[in-house]
Amino acid sequence: MILTPGIIARLAVLGAFVAVAQVVCFSKMDIFGTSPDIALLVVISVGMLGGSLTGAVTGFSIGLLLDCLLLETLGAFALTMLCVGYVAGRYRETIGRPTRPAVVLLGGSLTMLGALVIAAIQIGTGIDANVSFLVVRDALIKSLIGALLAIPVLWIVRLVVRSALVDERRAARRTPSPRPVESG
């Protein structure tokens, strides 16, 4: 991904929008007792498209904004999303462009990782709650929802940053254009 000021601005708007939407909308949805973590999926998608550094910075920024909007312990979501974005980016850098099954797997497993990390940080920083099976169940359902939504979210993020994706331009160039039909 080529990071121009325009792309950075797009990513900033996307991050702000998804953080607000996560707080006011997605977190209030009830799907099998939990809610989808779309902000985390956006960070995973940016990581998969832009690499570890872009993923980590985007994750840190969106996470920090979430910490502020939720008035949670500052740094908790930032650290979690930074880790998740970095791991997604490293996958891209070491293995290559993820295939569809890989996107689903990454979406599920990294959502699970994010849910567990944030639970661990919150418990470690003084949330007065017992670690029970509910935490694991919640993380499992979240990861299933993450796996299901990984492809659509990646598709939307790709639309936003399409002009900066070097690989996609090359792929588009390699695709032969149809020859014009000669008449006569």
Binding site: V20, A21, V23, V24, C25, K28, M29, D30, I31, F32, S52, L53, A56, V57, F60, G63, L64, L65, D67, C68, L69, L71, T73, L74, G75, A76, A78, L79, L82, Y86, I121, T125, G126
Partner: protein, 290 residues
């Protein structure tokens, strides 16, 4: 070049991790009025109107998703709730039946504690277990018999008044012939006038009784109460003790009184729906039908 990139990536990553941990640590330690809390408040305040607008704008999408979830949950709860409703309905029916029975027993106790039970008698409370299926309601079966001290010709009262007399017994059950039976006849007195007569069923009308053989010249009005007379003449006496309420005068035309010495009354006892009766286990020594 590549190494430089790797070094830069690692440095940024370390910087971000360090920043996160520092924020976590400082935020956790500082008081609510600290600079980090202040910065958080500023960001939250700036985004507050955006959040408010986004909340309203995204509400339909949120409600749609929640509607699916709630519908799914509701379908899961449906069978459980149906079972609960059936269980509660069963409990309610049992409670209402018990309440009705308690009321009836209390009324029965009230009636028999009013001095109508002759000295030396021991009233036996019995449940009505069998009922004649005909429209005449002439007999019922009770769940106490000769083994409980119930004897033939014992008077039987229901919660509101006289019901009939025992006409047949087995060790565990007894048959009660009601005052609406064609063969029934009970000597009775109209209060407060004191006129006496014989209460008999009105043939062809099971809800109506008639008081026959009234003395000439007595004036009886609608609404007056009829109780058992309980006469005793030598060895001959009524099997019904005096003072048991029988019914209320419903029709007392002058013509009928003069021509037939007769008035009509409605029994107090709800003979169709009674569940409990009391058998007044006393023997006056051989009265015949009242």
């Amino acid at each position: 070049m590549y190494r430089k990139q790797v070094r830069r990536r690692r440095a940024v990553l370390l910087l971000l991790v360090a920043a996160s941990l520092t924020l976590l640590s400082l935020y956790y330690r500082e008081s609510t009025g600290g600079p980090l809390h202040g910065a958080q408040d500023v960001v939250s305040t700036v985004f507050s109107p955006i959040e408010s607008g986004a909340d309203r704008a995204l509400k339909p999408a949120r409600d749609l998703v929640n509607w699916f979830g709630e519908t799914f949950d509701a379908r899961g709860d449906k069978s459980k709730l149906e079972d609960q409703v059936a269980d509660l309905r069963d409990q309610l029916a049992r409670a209402q039946t018990q309440q009705q029975e308690v009321k009836e027993l209390q009324a029965l106790d009230q009636l028999t504690s009013g001095g109508i039970v002759p000295d030396g008698s021991d009233p036996v409370t019995a449940r009505v277990v069998g009922r004649s299926p005909t429209v005449w309601y002439s007999t019922v079966t009770i769940d106490n018999g000769s083994g409980d001290g119930v004897r033939i010709d014992d008077p039987v009262v229901a919660a509101q008044g006289l019901a009939g007399k025992v006409t047949q017994t087995t060790p565990n059950t007894a048959q009660v012939t009601l005052i609406t039976d064609a063969d029934s006849a009970v000597t009775a007195r109209v209060t407060p006038s004191g006129a006496t007569g014989v209460v008999e069923p009105d043939v062809g009308n099971p809800n109506d009784l008639q008081l026959d053989f009234l003395e000439r010249g007595t004036r009886i009005a609608e609404g007056q109460m009829v109780v058992t007379a309980g006469f005793s003449t030598g060895d001959l006496g009524s099997i019904f003790p005096p003072g048991i309420p029988v019914g209320e005068i419903t029709s007392a035309s002058v013509q009928e009184q003069q021509a037939y010495q007769r008035v009509h009354l409605e029994p107090f006892a709800d003979l169709r729906n009674m569940d409990f009766v009391k058998v007044l286990t006393t023997h006056s020594g051989g009265g015949k039908n009242g």
